[in-house]
């Protein structure tokens, strides 16, 4: 019976496993092979060139800017997202009239396709017809035609990319934290309340510390989504102005696909791997800890 089960189990699992190995494992190996070759689109044949690609991309200013931006965007966005979504999840926790609809509105940025949300922002941040510019002129912060171009100046463009990442991730982190909040045993804050602790004290001494594991899950996913994303950058700025918003994925796309240099593009995207491995490690640790307790 047990042997029979194992055979059937293998037969039922094999097709899915084969698909994943062929379309994820295979390409992953191919990416590493490309990174050590001089492959270009339209130039088949494999020539091993050792670390040549890594040497040349590490010397390229665009690549260094991309590496730095990827880290900065990810870290800044995560910090903003944690603070905002902790506040938001606590505000949303208790039932109130219209909670479902409020939750839907808050979730829109996450559940709508990101390429469409990003193009919506591109209109909001337009160089001439931006609503933000109009409001600032109306408030007399800027003179007419004197406002900056939000996506045209390096610092502002970087801030815009981070803003859109936060806009997209806050809803996601909020629902994850809501799921975590409902799992906190209610008797502890209640007991504290009976003992005379106020709302804020319970919040900072009990609820937030107890949310720590779930916050870490939200951060792990958020890090992956920001660090590996190229959609937001590609649509908002295409890496510009002057590579100031280029990230690893967007530069890999510009080099490997648009620039036909498969080898250099593949080498750039491999720089994502250390972060992914780190995240996988923490994810497994979180899962393991939950299993033990």
């Amino acid at each position: 019976m047990a042997v029979e089960n194992r055979r059937l189990g293998f037969a039922m699992f094999f097709p899915a496993a084969a698909y994943i190995v062929l379309l994820i494992g295979g390409p992953l190996i191919l990416a590493v092979m490309y990174a050590f070759s001089d492959a270009r689109i339209g130039n088949p044949g494999y020539h091993y060139v050792g670390l040549e690609n890594f040497r040349s991309i590490l010397q390229s200013p665009s690549f260094r800017a991309a590496l730095r931006n990827s880290v900065v965007f990810t870290v800044v966005a995560q910090i903003v997202v944690i603070v905002c979504s902790t506040m938001l999840s606590i505000a949303l926790e208790k039932p109130f009239r219209g909670r479902k609809f409020t939750r839907f509105l808050i979730l829109l940025p996450w559940v709508a396709p990101i390429s469409l949300g990003a193009i919506g922002w591109k209109w909001i941040l337009d160089s001439i017809y931006s609503v933000i510019t109009w409001v600032l002129i109306w408030l007399h912060v800027y003179k007419p035609y004197g406002a900056p171009m939000w996506l045209g100046e390096p610092k502002l463009a970087m801030a815009s990319v981070i803003l859109v990442h936060c806009w997209r991730l806050i809803p996601f982190s909020t629902v994850i934290m809501l799921a975590g909040l409902t799992a906190i045993p209610k008797d502890i804050p209640e007991a504290a309340s009976i003992d005379g602790a106020g709302f804020w004290r319970i919040l900072f001494r009990i609820n937030i510390p107890m949310m720590a594991p779930i916050i870490s899950v939200a951060v792990l996913f958020g890090t992956i989504f920001t660090f590996t994303d190229m959609t937001v950058v590609y649509i908002l700025t295409a890496g510009g102005p002057f590579d100031s918003t280029q990230t690893l994925p967007s530069l890999a796309f510009a080099t490997g696909i648009q620039g036909s240099d498969l080898a250099a593009g593949a080498a750039m995207s491999l720089f994502l791997i250390p972060v992914l491995v780190l995240i996988a490690y923490f994810m497994l640790r979180a899962a393991h800890r939950a299993e033990v307790t």
């Binding site: 059937l8 994820i24 390409p27 829109l108």
Partner: protein
Amino acid sequence: MTRRGWRKLGPGVAKFATLATFVVLLAFPFYWMLIATFKQNIDLYTVENNPFKFNLPPTLDHLKLLFFETRYVRWLGNTALVGVIVVIITLLLAVPAAYALARLTGRWGQRMGIAIFLTYLIPPTLLFIPLSRVVAVLGLQDTIWSVVLVYPSFTIPFSIWLLMGFFKSIPKELEDAAMVDGLTRFGAFVKMVIPISTSGILTVVIFTFTLVTQEFVYALTFISPESQQMVGVGIPIFLVRGDVYFWGSLMAACLITSVPIALLYNTFLDRFIAGFTVGAVK
């Protein structure tokens, strides 16, 4: 007001203010799409006009342009077709695999389950360069079949993960009883387990479909002709002619496409979140 009074009032006001601020910030782009959809071009492109109100009467011109003079409807069709085929492939492969890992393989299955979950963390931006060559070698470049081939590579892992949890929650006695009645293990899976799992399977269907509509990187990489586009790439890339943005139609397309997907996703969201947080919340 007394200090005590402030303390009592504080949390309620703070909550309301937090909610109101975030609702406005998060939903604003969609409200802005709605306004642009119905504004006349002269109104949209006059810098002095108050952008929050209709300075000229609303118009349906942008919608007419979108539906009759662009390939938008074609992109919707492409996306729906790809969505349906990818859903079928995902179900055929993920449902049996998830059952196998949940019931038949013991410790070994647990480890495979975690391995499967980890493959979900591998992003398209790591694989799009090699996959673009795979797609080219197979002759699928510039057709929707390229994404039909590649999308299951990320829909299958998460679907297996979701369904594993679902199958584990079904009492074992149900299958045992069916097998005592003469069904084989596989027969019990097909005749007993699948019918009572419809809500789990439906979740996977919706999840897969929304992922297909949201994907951008692979579709952008593999497909260049305008007529073969998926909606997520067609709108932001091909509704722009040269450097000219047709903002009215563009925003209309974003809104009309996003809202149904958002409604669908929202209905099933709690189950997806359960999938994301398995292990961490207990």
